[in-house]
């Protein structure tokens, strides 16, 4: 990306966010005949493997309120969340024309069955459902996951004939480690000074991270870290909140803006959780890089509604995050009809009560257009904390 100004950086991010035709993807792919593009649904997929196969992983997060849903509604009943409608709409309108395959991680029944719909509708594309292990014993879940990764490599390699070496995999792991470190630096900076980069801009930046090549994204992050550190701005009198529950279907930008304008700095959220799925580096010098990827997943410490809770009590993890981010409270912000987020909510609310952490909850769908109620609710939450805490 070279040396560009802050305004240019934000403008390019904005452009990427607005572009539902994936022009960047088209240009990236056109540079080499062996290049392939793999779309993936939230939350996490091992992008390192796709990268090592010479391909571009691109996050598919629906289209929010930016397209009318004409055909997508004919695929899903009214009581199913909104994300798959815009995903299908985009697919049927040809917006994924440059995509060679699609990966669907095991996060809920809707995403699982969406993989079946893609299998039926797009027979000429690679469509894979990735069943991540819910058993975390290396000899049980580890063996199973290793097999899934082996199969994934076979499937991807069949698209361009390139099979990644251990060196390729290690290089890919290293470049994604770097990406996570840069992003976490930015998260930490925002924890200290959330007024330097608005929640909306930070969100758009991360959306860019799910479209750009990791190399381009890292360059962008490096530039931005320099710029943001130099900004001279005064913080406003706002509370600090962690927003959780929005890891799949994305909130409209207006909702994020509304929360912040109503007096809440969002100091942590799970909007683009997959980008920072691992908080530690994955070893990038291993003789067995696939083994390193497997081990990292089994030892995952990330708070996620899609991973069996086991002994990693989710409420405690959230309370730790609140403490770490010096947050004043939690906003549970889940899409309507999202089973994983909404079924976690009562557990998490009880945990927050136990830790005397204030919380409020709201629901949305990706094409929500009215934010008045949310403004009232977030404003009241902010006032309540400012006045009484």
């Amino acid at each position: 990306m070279g040396n560009v100004t802050y305004a240019q950086t934000m403008s390019s991010i904005e452009k990427l966010f607005d572009d539902l035709t994936f022009e960047y993807v088209r240009q990236w792919k056109a540079k080499l005949p062996s290049r392939r593009v793999i779309g993936f649904l939230p939350i996490y997929i091992p992008r390192e493997i796709i990268h090592a196969c010479g391909m571009l992983p691109v996050g598919i997060f629906g289209a929010g309120d930016r397209i009318p849903v004409v055909r997508g509604d004919a695929y899903f009943q009214s009581y199913i969340c909104h994300l798959p409608r815009t995903v299908v709409e985009l697919a049927l309108c040809g917006n994924f024309g440059d995509f060679d395959g699609f990966l669907f991680p095991s996060i809920c029944d809707v995403i699982r069955n969406l993989s079946g719909i893609f299998k039926l509708q797009f027979e000429n594309k690679l469509v894979r459902y990735l069943d991540f292990p819910q058993n975390f014993d290396p000899e049980v879940g580890g063996v199973f996951y290793r097999r899934i990764l082996d199969d994934l490599i076979n499937d991807l390699s069949s698209l361009n004939g390139l099979r990644p070496t251990n060196n390729n995999l290690n290089e890919s792991i290293a470049v994604y480690n770097r990406s996570r470190r840069l992003l976490l630096d930015l998260v930490r900076l925002r924890t200290e000074k959330p007024h330097l980069l608005s929640a909306v801009d930070f969100y758009k930046l991360r959306r860019a991270g799910n479209t750009l090549s990791v190399e381009d994204f890292n360059a962008l992050l490096e530039n931005l870290l320099q710029f943001v550190g130099q900004i001279d701005a005064e913080p406003e009198d706002k509370i600090r909140v962690v927003v959780t529950g929005a890891f799949c279907e994305q909130p409209p930008l207006g909702l994020i803006k509304t929360i912040e304008n109503a007096g809440c700095y969002i100091v942590d959220d799970d909007f683009q959780l997959g980008l920072t799925w691992f908080s530690q580096d994955i070893p990038d010098y291993s003789d067995d890089p696939l083994g390193a990827l497997v081990e990292s997943l089994l030892e995952l410490k990330t708070f996620s509604s899609a991973v069996f809770e086991d002994d990693r009590m989710r409420g405690e993890l959230l309370a730790e995050r609140v403490l770490e981010r010096k947050a004043d409270g939690v906003i549970f912000c889940a899409p309507s009809f999202c089973d994983p987020a909404l079924l976690d909510r009562p557990i998490l609310e009880r945990a927050m009560n136990k830790h005397h952490i204030k919380h409020t909850s709201l629901q949305y769908h990706e094409n929500l257009g009215q934010f008045h109620v949310i403004k009232e609710q977030a404003g009241a939450f902010s006032d309540m904390i400012k006045l009484w805490e």
Partner: protein, 434 residues
């Protein structure tokens, strides 16, 4: 013969009453209690440890039939469960909060272990995570059953399930029950299970006759009762299915239709296959909308939710743990959409169905997501009329009689028109069709 026909129902009722009686006496008997789910249920495995299973979905549907579910659901919503989530979960949690009184009016014991057989439904995982917080000292055993994403059971997936059983589930069951795992005992139970499964398949296959001697949906939920719950793998279960089969054979011989709440279905007019679970809160009224019009269900996907035996799978003692793994992975909602379509197509073709009905359930994304695509695919492929209605499992707020009736009226009109086109073609005799 009326008495004979009712005898399987009476037997099932007795079996259930005894089971709930045993559950109510665990304090005295010391028997341990396992909460688990119907899809991918390991009934034989549980009874190998002399433990007693409780199925929260069954309790929820029973609450729905007894008109208790709305109260329970509201109770759960009062403590933070969203209106949008599965009504089974809320009904179960509400029932627990109100004292855990089961379908027979007896208090259900708390679980000693939660066997989270995570088969074909993501909500199961969230459900038991919630229960674990509500029963904080309870052991939880996760059995992750991989989805048939490639449309087949992969050997690596069988190994994964077996490994989980060996390394995680069995040690937890041994600890809770105080009994060592006995694989031979399990094998003997699996052989008994296979006998019951053979009988069940014969019963479902009888729907190819005209008139169909069974209703594979509304009647079907009774037929699957013992094999999908606590009884698979014991002698009582086999006796039940022998009795049921004798009743079905009698109806075939006499060319009688299935039993409805108002007696035998006479004048079978429409033969239907249905995708999706039934509504439980208005079960009788819902059923009546069909038998009043002479409609009988000759196939249903819901009756395969606790196991698919149509393509030859039977539990086996040859490799008991692998057999359990294959059973779990074969359950209907653990199958890919193309597999589900194939199964419905088989029901439609083999049992000479006139149409396909989708009962889309608000609570159940595992079934519902993708149903519209399946419906259109089958319509295009087979050229049959399709109908679509929406209800819920146990939340009566989502049951709208008028909406359902309007849609069914249109569906039956389509079927009638289709029949009027074919009315002149009486060349196919009953024997050929059968």
């Amino acid at each position: 013969m009326e008495v004979q026909k009712e005898s399987s129902m009476i037997k099932q009722k007795q079996m259930l009453a005894e089971h709930f009686m045993e559950l109510s006496q665990v304090r005295e008997t010391g028997r341990k209690v396992v909460y688990t789910f119907v899809p991918g249920n390991l009934a034989e495995f549980v009874s190998t440890f002399d433990m007693l299973p409780v199925y929260p979905e069954i309790n929820a549907l029973q609450s729905g039939m007894r008109k208790k579910s709305e109260e329970y659901i509201r109770e759960a919503e009062d403590i933070g469960y969203s209106e949008d989530v599965c009504s089974y979960v809320k009904c179960d949690i509400g029932m627990m909060l109100q004292g855990n009184i089961g379908p027979t009016g007896q208090r259900l014991p708390a679980p000693d272990i939660l066997l989270l057989s995570y088969t074909g439904c993501f909500v199961f995982m969230k459900w038991f995570e919630n229960l674990r917080h509500l029963y904080p000292n309870t052991e939880i055993a996760m059995l992750h059953v991989p989805y048939q994403e490639a449309g087949r059971i992969e050997p690596a997936a069988v190994k994964y399930v077996k490994d989980q059983l060996i390394k995680s589930v069995i040690p937890k069951f041994e600890k809770v029950s105080g009994q060592k795992f006995d694989i031979d005992k399990l094998g003997r139970k699996l052989e008994l299970a296979a006998q019951a499964e053979n009988l069940l398949v014969d019963i479902f296959d009888s729907a190819r006759h005209r008139p169909s001697p069974i209703d594979a949906y509304f009647g079907g939920v009774y037929y699957i009762g013992p094999i999908f719950t606590a009884f698979r793998g014991n002698e009582d279960c086999i006796d039940y299915y022998r009795e049921l089969k004798a009743e079905v054979d009698y109806r075939v011989a006499k060319k009688l239709g299935p039993i409805t709440p108002e007696g035998h279905l006479e004048n079978e007019r429409f033969r239907l296959v249905v995708e999706g679970p039934p509504n439980w809160t208005h079960f009788r009224d819902f059923w009546k909308m069909f038998y009043d019009r002479g409609a009988v269900f000759v196939g249903s996907s819901y009756t395969r939710v606790g196991g698919v035996y149509d393509d030859g799978f039977r539990h086996s003692s040859k490799d008991p743990l692998a057999s359990l793994a294959e059973y779990c992975m074969g359950c209907y909602t653990n199958r890919s959409l193309p597999q589900r379509i194939s199964l419905l197509e088989r029901f439609i073709k083999n049992n000479h169905a006139d149409g396909l009905l989708v009962n889309s359930i608000k609570s159940c994304n595992s079934f519902s997501a993708g149903q519209l695509v399946m419906m259109r695919d089958l319509e295009a492929r087979l050229g049959i009329p399709v109908g679509f209605i929406e209800t819920d499992l146990v939340d009566p707020r989502y049951y709208s009689f008028s909406n359902i009736k309007n849609r069914l009226d249109s569906f039956f009109q389509m079927l009638e028109q289709r029949q009027s086109i074919w009315i002149g073609d009486d060349s196919l005799s009953d024997d050929v069709l059968a």
